[in-house]
Symmetry: C2
Subunit: 452 residues, 2 copies
Amino acid sequence: MESPDWAERLTAALAEDDPDALRELLDGVRPADVADALTDEEPRAIWRALAALPTDDRAEVFGYLVPERQVALARTLDRRQLAHLFRHMSSDDRADLFNRLEPEQQDELLPSLAQAEREDIRLLAGYEEGTAGALMTSEYATLAPDLTAAQAIARLRLEAPDKETIYQAYVIDAERRLLGTVSLRELVTARAHERVADLMTTDVVTRRAGDGQEEVASLISKYDLLSLPILDDADRLVGIVTYDDAMDVAEEEATEDFHRVGTVAALDSSVREAGIPLLYRKRVGWLVVLIFANAFSGAGIALFEEIIAAHVVLVFFLPLLIASSGNAGAQSATLTVRALATGDIRPKDWGRMLGRELLVAVLLGATMGLIVSALGIVRGGAEVAFVVASTMVLVVVIGSLLGMSLPFVLERLRLDPATASVPLVTSLADIAGVLIYFSLASWALQIPAVPG
Amino acid sequence: MESPDWAERLTAALAEDDPDALRELLDGVRPADVADALTDEEPRAIWRALAALPTDDRAEVFGYLVPERQVALARTLDRRQLAHLFRHMSSDDRADLFNRLEPEQQDELLPSLAQAEREDIRLLAGYEEGTAGALMTSEYATLAPDLTAAQAIARLRLEAPDKETIYQAYVIDAERRLLGTVSLRELVTARAHERVADLMTTDVVTRRAGDGQEEVASLISKYDLLSLPILDDADRLVGIVTYDDAMDVAEEEATEDFHRVGTVAALDSSVREAGIPLLYRKRVGWLVVLIFANAFSGAGIALFEEIIAAHVVLVFFLPLLIASSGNAGAQSATLTVRALATGDIRPKDWGRMLGRELLVAVLLGATMGLIVSALGIVRGGAEVAFVVASTMVLVVVIGSLLGMSLPFVLERLRLDPATASVPLVTSLADIAGVLIYFSLASWALQIPAVPG
């Protein structure tokens, strides 16, 4: 990281539009750091900084900006500037940006690009967001199977400037069907005359362009791959996904699950850049659903108005009991959702997990029951203490079992277990808590449960 | 993935202890998949499978097992078997396993290893868990600065079998101080007589062995690195962290934050493998703390027993109002915790986020207030509807502002924002909800707030 002083001087140089000062300040700074420093600037100021950079660095810094900033910046550029930037971006970043431009700007841009670039954009930009096709790059190195190791290295050497990686090369036939992969490490350690066909690995992990990018990212992580080849429906190689893009996808997916568990709908945007209408839309849905879910708890309470009126002290323990049930359930749901997402547990493990959860929940419920029974004696006497403690044990067990099971149920229904697990568990546990608490109280304090 | 039939035949071959069948079944299966298939087997059965594999594959499959399985398996091996396994493991996996063995087994093992392996284990196993030192490998390739590109490639070719990567080579002086890095790509594309000193990058991102592994992983992701060199306090190169280990760390860190937000203490173990006492310990702490936090809500309610007794209908709306406040707060806390963790927002962004959060919360509160006012009219008439709707707007705004601010406060206190943010916000929002609700009700329904 550069010093705070550096950031100040950069802001000053941007404000003054001083290209020489900018060039000096940005020289030798890593592209990711330049992008970081520019993130709060106006599009015009960002462009001033980019214009002061060498062409290749310019495209790289641009690629590190968050998508919202990229689009805002692209809108301020004329056709010539935008075409120049496009020409130097990596093929996957370029296709992403193209998809985010307004149709008019897309139409304006295409004629300024070379034929090969246009075709590349058409190929990559055609895949739906979230698919492997939308994530892949077309800048991979290919080899023919009959080359020798020495010829293959010579070939990769020539191709290196235009390829995202030369550490994995893809061996294809005349129809671009994938025959195998060979690493530069294997080529370098092989004898010069050995043939690529004899060196290559034929047992390659591949996926289709229409497959989900989450799956591709987790395969790259599982098998410690540098890149994973993507095929079309005719088994032809159409692109590769590299490990650095897989890391970004893994982070995005974790963020999405995180948000879902916190009942925020998937936010396809930086929180920093998200506008107020977007944030409102992503949050209001679950809040409204949960109002209705919680109205059931209220309706549960209404069944017992008589006992509440007779023993108002019971209300003192209500928030505590239903919160404990919800908290225990949220813990179980959190553990289960994350373990299913990382592959630590699988759908078939349900039975085994359920037995263990029961034991843990009984221990937790007993501990918590002991604590609230003390509170119960102080505030309401032995009978209330008994009701409160028994309720605690029951609701913690029920909440925990619900929390552990619901993600499995959602998974079996082919829904994402992260969606709604925690709030649904909490609401269900709340309702169960209300019913159990007041039923037990009615029985122990000998008052009819339903006023009639 | 292999077929279910394959898994069955594998289990049968393990039960029958049939080495020939095992060898045939495991031939050509990827090490990560073999480890997956063995994960539910007994240690003795796992060893039978490993023994049927070629030596290098055996160590690799072993490295893919979760740590708890590795230790259980290691306990069943004799000194000779364990030493053989150790000799073929990668240096970082080996050091991790060594640290998890019982002291007696460590003492028994060391004399069976070669001098170089012993020293390597002593070096790597000496670093505290969670540090870059504990994550790094000592199997990196080094070059002298005065070699030519051709000489450097020849050198890397010889070193390849023992190194984790040869795609990044580290240029060091006679004291092992890091001078720069050069990639195999740069060496391959350079002219044969160019010198490493002229080809290498001197502006290298490095960290110390004592630095946190989370930081190292996020640097690798930020700068799209293949590996990051680790230095000791005298600037000497002691190891490298590779991208695949960084991916694992990023996943672990996300899991930890996930658990913390779900009020489960950091679980340094697979959920699948965790025992009941461990799960109990990791969950009971927050549940008990939250009982006391929620007892405050109960105490808040107790202040208003009189108005509750007079208007029992108010209790109907209680779960709904305090849950809404908590839910809105949990949403804000979730968004903020994750955005701080990924670097999307920074501590200095608080003011900016607060203003936006206020606007979003007012919109959310108004929407939800409208909905509950309808419920209020149906159940309690216009006055109750007014109280309930006004309370809703206020508690949603307060919950949201609390939820957004608390992670910033924890960050400024140098605590992990993920810890406790959501449950604390929920509890605080609950208490605020109770007080606001009944105060408003007392005022609107003209009943003294505190019974005297």
